[in-house]
């Protein structure tokens, strides 16, 4: 079935957020997405770290301001870690 536009957007947004946090905030690739983990959501935690770095409101959610920064052209060196 064709994917609903909203679902497609959501998938693209998640992909953008994940790759941004993997590239620049040391988010580990989730090799077992089918296993439901308990406790902290690493993606939300890394998102908070990125929002704090850029002086955005720390929501842990990919809000508009956060996505706007993620789409900006930038340096490939990570913002945190090695």
């Amino acid at each position: 079935f064709p994917v609903a536009p909203e679902a497609e957007n959501e998938r693209k947004t998640l992909q953008l957020v994940e790759s941004y946090l993997q590239n620049f905030y040391d988010l580990q690739k989730d090799h077992h997405p089918h296993l439901r983990t308990t406790g902290e959501n690493p993606l939300a935690e890394k998102l908070k770290e990125m929002q704090e770095f850029f002086g955005l409101e720390v929501t842990g959610k990919p809000d508009l301001d956060t996505l706007e920064i993620m789409k900006k052209p930038r340096c490939g060196v990570p913002d945190v870690g090695q």
Binding site: F54, P73, R74, C75, V77
Partner: protein
């Protein structure tokens, strides 16, 4: 500023660099000039010296690379990641890689090579990303006219903390990023723009939207790359949906959000005498259609309908506006005129012809 983890640094102040290849998008001479200028950004403020070598291994190897270039950090095509560099060290240490698929340029089009290389060299020398939005080491790209570029104070402090100060008799200093709630904050110019208030300061603009609590800080060049920094006066002509911006003896017109073609024009077209070299502040009175220009201790009045200066001007500011002194910036909102001089702000009622309130310059920022 942030040091790279482990505080890596070069043990020598005399470093070599080599340009391994060139992009077909720029003349070779322009590439070399951009890289030389980028290196001088750091050598101007430290004891570091850079020597160009051609046929041997250099400390800093600079190259344009395409997608996967075997350093575990593949490039991603146009936009996105523009370049990366490696911390000080042997081998790949210090090297700068530039994404060949970017639209490299020597001006405001595409991505300015000088700005990107200067940033990457910060990594080559041991700096990490700074969270100061005005710093060169801030991770996202922002254009500044290379002719106007000054290394910000945050970056100077960082690199000098690693390599020490410059040997120059007078230590170079750089622009500091304005903080909206800094009680000492003063403004170069202020204008309303379609319901928002734009505060100009150096190469920055602080943007206050009535519906948003926070204040947004941007480079002027982010919206208007052709505008210079250091705007000295600005006003909105609400009727024409225009904003006029002044610097020295020139002015630009924004129509909507775009700079109108054919500008800048000399301010003398508005009727100023040649003795006037710059405008300090300006506002347009929506009710009367008159625009007031403040210069030193005098002001002129311009009739927007007749498109000419009214007769009988200039007049002394003190004779008609009371003790507001010199004017750095001014704007009108909801019938009141707000005059700014240094860190003081006066709310003036043009109907009663008197100052009704005195505030701090940062009163608009919900501090």
């Amino acid at each position: 500023y942030v040091f790279t983890t482990g505080n890596p640094k070069w043990k020598r102040n005399h470093l070599t660099y080599r340009i391994l290849n060139y992009t077909p998008k720029m003349r070779q001479a322009d590439v070399e000039k951009a890289i030389q200028k980028a290196l001088s950004v750091w050598s101007n403020v430290t004891p570091l010296r850079f020597e160009k070598v051609d046929n041997k291994e250099a400390d800093i190897m600079i190259s344009f690379a395409y997608r996967d270039h075997y350093d575990n950090s593949p490039f991603d095509g146009p936009n996105g990641q523009l370049a990366h560099a490696f911390q000080p060290g042997e081998g790949i240490g210090g090297d700068v890689h530039l994404d060949e698929e970017e639209a490299w340029s020597k001006d405001g089009r595409g991505y300015n090579l000088f700005i990107v290389v200067a940033h990457e060299l910060g990594h080559s020398l041991g700096l990490s990303h700074s969270n100061d939005p005005g710093a060169l080491m801030y991770p996202t790209y922002s254009y500044t006219d290379p002719k106007e570029f000054l290394l910000p104070q945050d970056d100077i402090d960082g690199i000098q903390a690693i390599y020490g100060q410059s040997s120059a008799a007078v230590q170079p200093t750089g622009p500091v990023t304005p903080q909206a709630c800094d009680p000492n904050l003063t403004f170069d110019a202020i204008a309303t723009l379609r319901g928002e208030i734009i505060f100009f300061k150096g190469r920055y603009m602080l943007r206050k939207h009535p519906a948003r609590a926070e204040t947004e800080l941007n480079f002027i060049s982010l919206f208007w790359p052709k505008l210079p920094s250091g705007i000295q006066a600005a006003y909105e002509n609400v009727e024409n949906d225009e904003v006029l911006l002044f610097k020295e003896d020139k002015y630009w017109v924004l129509r909507g959000y775009d700079i109108a073609p054919g500008y800048p024009k000399p301010i003398y077209r508005l009727g100023f005498p040649k003795t006037v070299k710059r405008v300090n502040a300006a506002y347009n009175d929506e009710t009367t259609g008159k625009t007031y220009f403040f210069i030193a201790d005098r002001y002129w009045r311009y009739d927007e309908n007749k498109k000419s200066m009214d007769h009988g001007y200039p007049r002394k500011i003190v004779s008609d506006f009371g003790k507001i002194g010199r004017v750095d910036a001014v704007f009108q909102k909801d019938g009141y005129v707000y005059f700014f001089h240094r860190t003081t702000q006066f709310q003036y009622d043009p109907r009663a012809k008197q100052i009704v309130r005195q505030m701090k310059s940062i009163s608009w920022f919900n501090c």
